[in-house]
């Protein structure tokens, strides 16, 4: 015997035809995850330009618990007067207010303190907030400068880009020594790199060195295992001055038919934490058979969010034309 669900909608008649706001929210929130919709506009970018106690918020579309909103033109938000004794961290938020029936941009003043913390978000049946930026309001500040604003947009909705989005990609038409991904948006949960590359070196396969934020000090730690033919080996490099995202295949007489295959995951890259990363790669020696497969775990002993990634080859050789490296944002 069929048994109806407790709630279902929308339908032409019957209980499912009585769709009120709460019912709409009940199912529409599953259409798209809450967040900023990626569509080529300014994605609610918050900035300041030393024009007084205010910040500016760029254009954008959002989807919050099934409610859609658009900021069609830049808005100016006032910042509350500074504390005379201590600094303060305010939050700029997008708020869907289910009681007052609107979506607003707003600032949430923090509590002045020697080491201030930003206020928490409200996410309840009455309202749902998502953060856009943190604003440091210095003691006795009379204006907000660009450096006082920290981007806190945590994620975009999937939209038609799917759960992951291609952030940037290069397919080389000429050799280069270094590949740099700069100004990485801090709006995804994780980063994922796929590298399919060939070294200009003809004598050895080369690790692809990777550095975060131009840091090349001995602040990295590696543990690895690889198999080559029927043998395998493991080891550790610590301290190290880099991570390795994979390997390049050896140059095989000018052809690019033996590109390596490497993947590299950087979880929670925008968080202030020590960064654990994972790399896997396989590659050839220029022949038709697989030479080596390696898996490695890395630690970067810094708690800075990752904004820049620089790739080079260990022996100083070049990434050959035809090499391709793609940077994806996940979640």
């Amino acid at each position: 015997m069929a048994t109806t669900l407790d709630v279902y909608a929308p339908f032409d008649s019957g209980p499912g035809a009585n769709v009120m706001e709460s019912t709409w929210r009940g199912f529409a929130k599953y259409m798209l995850e809450t967040g900023i919709i990626r569509n080529g506009d300014d994605h609610f970018r918050v900035y300041a330009d030393s024009t007084g106690m205010q910040v500016k918020v760029g254009t954008g579309h959002c989807w919050i618990q099934g409610h859609w909103g658009e900021n069609a033109a830049e808005k100016v938000l006032p910042i509350a007067a500074a504390d005379p004794t201590n600094p303060r961290d305010d939050l700029v938020v997008l708020r869907a207010d289910f009681v007052n029936n609107h979506i607003v941009l707003d600032t949430k003043p923090g509590t002045p303190a020697a080491s201030p913390t930003e206020p928490s978000l409200t996410q309840s049946s009455s309202m749902w907030e998502i953060r856009l930026a943190r604003v440091r309001v210095a003691t006795n500040a009379v204006t907000i400068a660009a450096g006082d604003v920290t981007d806190r947009r945590e994620r975009y909705t999937s939209n038609d880009y799917g759960p992951g989005a291609l952030i940037a990609e290069t397919r080389l038409t000429a050799s280069t020594t270094s590949i740099v991904f700069d100004q990485i948006p801090q709006t995804f949960r994780h980063l994922y790199i796929v590298a399919s590359v060939l070294s200009s070196n003809t004598t050895a396969n080369q690790p692809i060195y990777c550095r975060f934020n131009d840091i090349a000090t001995n602040s990295y730690d590696l543990q690895w295992m690889h198999s080559s033919g029927t043998t395998y080996a493991s080891g550790r490099v610590a301290p190290a001055s880099r991570v390795e995202i994979g390997h390049a295949s050896r140059n095989d007489n000018g052809e690019d038919t033996n590109l390596s295959s490497s993947e590299f995951l950087v979880a929670n890259y925008s968080k202030t934490q020590r960064h654990n990363t994972l790399a896997r790669s396989s590659f050839t020696n220029g022949g038709a058979s697989l030479t080596l497969w390696q898996s490695a775990g890395w630690l970067w002993g810094s708690s800075n969010p990752i904004t820049k990634i620089t790739l080079t080859l260990a022996d100083g050789s070049s990434f050959k034309a035809g090499s391709q490296v793609s940077l994806y944002g996940l979640g």
């Binding site: 940037a168 280069t176 270094s178 740099v180 100004q183 060195y209 080079t312 022996d315």
Partner: protein, 75 residues
Amino acid sequence: MDAVELNCTTGEGCRQPLTDVETAQRETDIATSAAEVQQRAAETAAHQATLSKVAAASGVTVAQLRAALGVPPHE
């Protein structure tokens, strides 16, 4: 020597010559990489030498010693 730089916010890309700092880092990396390769080779050779000595003292081949100990090929 140059770098392909991709601005992930604006989507713009360009080629830039390596800076002096980047060139110096490249030289350091080359030396570091070579030293690590050499060190791993030395460790592997030392391991093999130890196995050979033990096998010889036991009057068996290295393969027989591995089989008797149940030691995988890499150890």
